[in-house]
Every structure is written in structure tokens, then in C-alpha cells.
């Protein structure tokens, strides 16, 4: 009897361990590669940010990074990222909502216009904006009749936010489109059948259903804007210096690696905090969904 039960168990166990061994073998390249070229460099950045010239431990690079000009750069970074997140959320909401009501063919075409730019170099798209927003660019030419034209649309915060918003928009549209497609239209119809008006339906039914998606899309575009370099550097003025620009300057121009490392770690911590929030929001959303379903 014992032999009978042991017989099928043994090959299964053997197979399982073989599958495990194969798994570990195949996972090795990616794990080793990323540990050496991704995790280790970030850890050495962390160590560098804590090291004095003589090798002793110090926090003074962080004090540097959080005072004076560096602090104002950090605040600028947070402000521009917040403006970008808000704008790309609003535009993304409107566009995703409009696309989710289109017939499949038109929706597909519209999504193509959203997705294709995402695969075109951000540098190239930024250059496109520089051409468009210049004093003699298409935008100012079209607005030539307006009082006060031509407007200063470049090398200020407006220019930067226009640029970064257009870079983040594909993310928010894609995320929100997915969320909106998942909304059960029957719920809206049910609310309507019980006499709720359009505004009430939007506020009481639709918005709560898409709220977690809105929160994570906004947070995501905020996080992604934090480390942005190309657009602020090319479309902003001196008052739009963002933290990535500062890191770059310290490394390439001033040879100030420790300071750059401290700012990199700060950027990393901000990103991780944001990601934690995204996770929190989505788990809250999931539990709310469960509650409403039961």
C-alpha cells in the first residue's frame, strides 16, 4: 500500500524539482544582469551620497540638497510635476471618455494617435513643440489677431508644462481608457431608469467607479514627471530647472558626484513613495469594488 502511494509521488516531486532547477537556470541571466548593472549601481550611488571626501559617513550632501538653490529646484520639480499631472489627468479624462464612446473603428484610430507619439523620441517631440510655440510658430501665427500676440510660450513654465503634459498624456489616456471600458454601463442605465439626472449619474455612479483609476493615473504621471530632463531643459527658462537637470549639471560640468548622488537618492525616494501611494490607492479601490459588489 505504502509503495503504491509513494510511486506516483516520487516522480511528481522529481519533476517539480527539475522544473524548479530549470526555472532558476533560466532566471539567472536577468537576475545577474540587473543585480550587477541596476541594483549595484544604485546601491553605490546611495553609499556615495553618504560619504565624505575622507571616506567617513556624513549627511551633509543631503543638507546641501535640501537648502538654498537646491531646495528651490526641488520645489520647482514638485510644482511642475503637480501641474503636469493635473493637466494630463484632465485632458486624459476628457479624451479617454470621448474615445470610450466612439465606434470601434474610430476608437482604434484615435488610440493610434494617442499611442504612436509615445514611441517617438521625446527629444523629437520636444523639438516639434519648440517650432510650434516660437514667436513665429504656428500657434502664435494662428493667434495673431488676439490682443497681446505674439505670446511668450517658450522658455517659461507654460512652455515646460505644455511639453511635459503632452509626454504624459498617452499614459493617462491609456490607463483611464482601460478603466472606463471596465465600467458596467448597466449601472449607469439603472441609475437613469430610477430617475437620476446626467449630473447625478456622473457624480454619484460614474466618478466613484473610475476614481481609483484617476488617482493612480494622476500619481503615475506625477512620478514620471519628477525625473524628467529633456523637456524642462529645452523648453524652460532658468526658473524651470528641475532636479534631473541639476544632477546632470553636477556630474557633467561640476564633477560634484556626491551632491548628484544625494539628489538622485532623493528623487528615488520620492518615486518610491509615489509608487507606494499608487499601490495603496489601487488596493483601496479593489476593496471598495468588492464592497459594492457584495
Amino acid at each position: 500500500m505504502a509503495a503504491l502511494t509513494a510511486a506516483p509521488a516520487r516522480p511528481r516531486k522529481l519533476l517539480a524539482s527539475r522544473k524548479t532547477r530549470v526555472g532558476i537556470l533560466y532566471a539567472l541571466p536577468v537576475v545577474v544582469y540587473l543585480l550587477v548593472l541596476f541594483v549595484y549601481p544604485i546601491i553605490s550611488t546611495l553609499f556615495l551620497s553618504l560619504k565624505n571626501a575622507d571616506g567617513s559617513l556624513t549627511l551633509h550632501w543631503y543638507v546641501d540638497a535640501l537648502t538654498g538653490v537646491n531646495l528651490s529646484v526641488l520645489i520647482t520639480t514638485l510644482r511642475i510635476s503637480a501641474e503636469t499631472a493635473l493637466l494630463s489627468l484632465v485632458f486624459g479624462f476628457i479624451l479617454a471618455n470621448a474615445i470610450s464612446r466612439l465606434r470601434p473603428l474610430w476608437a482604434g484610430l484615435a488610440m493610434l494617435i494617442v499611442v504612436v507619439p509615445h514611441f517617438i523620441s521625446a527629444l523629437v517631440r520636444t523639438y516639434g513643440w519648440i517650432i510650434l510655440l516660437g514667436d513665429k510658430g504656428l500657434v502664435n501665427e494662428t493667434l495673431a489677431w488676439a490682443p497681446g500676440a505674439p505670446y511668450q510660450l517658450l522658455y517659461n513654465e507654460l512652455g515646460v508644462v505644455i511639453g511635459t503634459t503632452s509626454m504624459m498624456l498617452p499614459y493617462t489616456v491609456l490607463l483611464l481608457y482601460g478603466v472606463m471600458r471596465g465600467v458596467d454601463r448597466g449601472l449607469l442605465a439603472a441609475a437613469a431608469s430610477m430617475g437620476a439626472g446626467r449630473v447625478t449619474i456622473f457624480r454619484r455612479v460614474y466618478l466613484p467607479l473610475v476614481a481609483p483609476g484617476l488617482a493612480s493615473a494622476g500619481l503615475l504621471s506625477f512620478i514620471l514627471s519628477l525625473g524628467y530632463y529633456i523637456t524642462p531643459a529645452l523648453m524652460g527658462g532658468p526658473n524651470q530647472t528641475m532636479i534631473a537637470t541639476l544632477i546632470n549639471q553636477q556630474v557633467t560640468k561640476e564633477n560634484q558626484w556626491n551632491g548628484a548622488a544625494a539628489q538622485g537618492v532623493l528623487l528615488l525616494l520620492l518615486t518610491l513613495a509615489g509608487l507606494l501611494l499608487v499601490k495603496l490607492v489601487s488596493s483601496l479601490g479593489a476593496s471598495a469594488k468588492k464592497r459594492s459588489a457584495s
Binding site: 530549470v22 549601481p41 517617438i120 523629437v124 557633467t252 528615488l268
Partner: protein
Amino acid sequence: MIGLRKTLAGRIVLTAVATVILLFLALPILVILVTSFSDNAFAAFPPDTWTLNWYKVLFADGSKWPAALSLSALIAALSTVFSLIIGVTAATALTRSELPLRSAVYALVLGPLVIPNIVTALGLFLLFEPAAMLGSPLAMALGHTVLASPIAVLILIATLRGIDERLEDAAASMGAGRLTIARRITFPLAAPGMIAAAIFSFITSFDEFYISQFLSSVDTVTLPVQVYNSLTFEIDPSVTAISAILIAFAILALALVALVRWLGSGRQGSLLSAETATGIAAPGGEAV
């Protein structure tokens, strides 16, 4: 289709606003394509006269663009090879085996996609600078692979998940060895996904800016760094032509991915013809 009344005015407003937002996305790209053929690169839009001059300037003697273009292509090709090797093995491990710490491996793979590129680039700079590898195309390719390989892994995971494992089991039950199964069943079905992974790895490396800028030297300047430098230091109109070429290249690559997917979509269906009536999930979901 919603069961709600929609006013005509509301629909018109919504359509107009959505069109403006779509233009917001498309215009920066269209304006470059048009301007690159314009005689008067900055003064007027739409252009008065057309020319191919900026494209000729790109490849004239003494131009810095051909060197940058070929360096970027070389780095992207290397990076594609590395990413495919990492991608195929990692996706196999994550979908076809029992892997301890699977979620930790998965998180490691997603890491480079969520951490700001400038942080990754700074770390790589601190790694390669002491090794005196600044300006080395190999260092740049290794760096780009950090960003490109996660994308390849994600695409190939989706591809392998889309392949019905019963096909592999059926082949095994009929006595096919592991190599034969991989060669005759898995590889042909995964080929479209592998081509997509290769193309996206190539684009990722080809367009990469942060790592290239930190790791470049005076003699080795990749195309995006060269474009950035021409935009910050001396705007010359030929940058419009190279930008237009980059746009055309990206669109071509996306079209190729779409074509390969379309060609590959029927394959598994024909192998599983008995079951097509019940509907098997199409291979290869979108992962990017």
C-alpha cells in the same frame, strides 16, 4: 449605446475638445515632418517653398550625423541581442517553470521601468567611470539593455502565456524531445512576439538619451545626444531632417510590429483548428 440621452450640443462640444487634445498629441510630430521639407526652416508655416536641402546637408561631407547614426545603430543592435537573450530566458523562467521568489524576480524586472532613468544613468556612470569605459559603445549597449530588457521580458511573457501549453504537452506525449518541442512548436508560435520584443528593444536603445549622455565622450556621441546638443548649442535646420527621419523610423517599426502580429495571429488557430469554434485566446497580448 449607453442608454442615456445625449444632447447634440454636448456631443459637438465633446468631439471638438477631444479633437483639440488629439491635435495636441499629433501636431508636434506633424510640424517636424512638414518643416523638414520647408525652404525657410523657421520663418513661416505652412512653408512657401519646398526643398530637400536639409536631407542633403545631413549626408554632406563633414556632417556629424552619419557617425552618430551608425554609432546609435551599432549600440541598438548590440542592446537588442542582449535584451533578446535575457528576455527569452527570463520569460521562460517566469511562465514555464516553478521559480522560487518569482515575485521578487518580477519586481526586479519591473524596477528599471519605474525608477527615473536619470537615477539609473547616474548609477551606470558611477559604475563605468572608474572602469575607464566612458565613451565605449559596449558600455552604452550594456546600459541601454538595463532599460530595454525589461520591455523584452514583458512582451515575451505575454507571448508565452498566449501559447497554449497543451500544444507542447501534446508534442511531448508523442515523444518529441525538449529541443524538438522548442524548435518545432514553441519557437514558430513565439516568433512574432520575439520580433516585437526585438523591435521595441531596438527603439528603446536607439532613442535612449540619459544613459548615453552620461556615458558618451567627445568622440562617441549617439544620435539623441547629438540632437540634444544641436538644440541647445546651435540650432541648425538639418536637425529637423534628422528628427523627421527618426519619426519615420519609429512609425515604420510600429507598422512592422503590427504586420508581424497580424501574420502570426492565425497560426495557433490553425494548429488548434478543432478548438477554434470554442475560441482560444489570441497569442501575444500587448505589454507595452
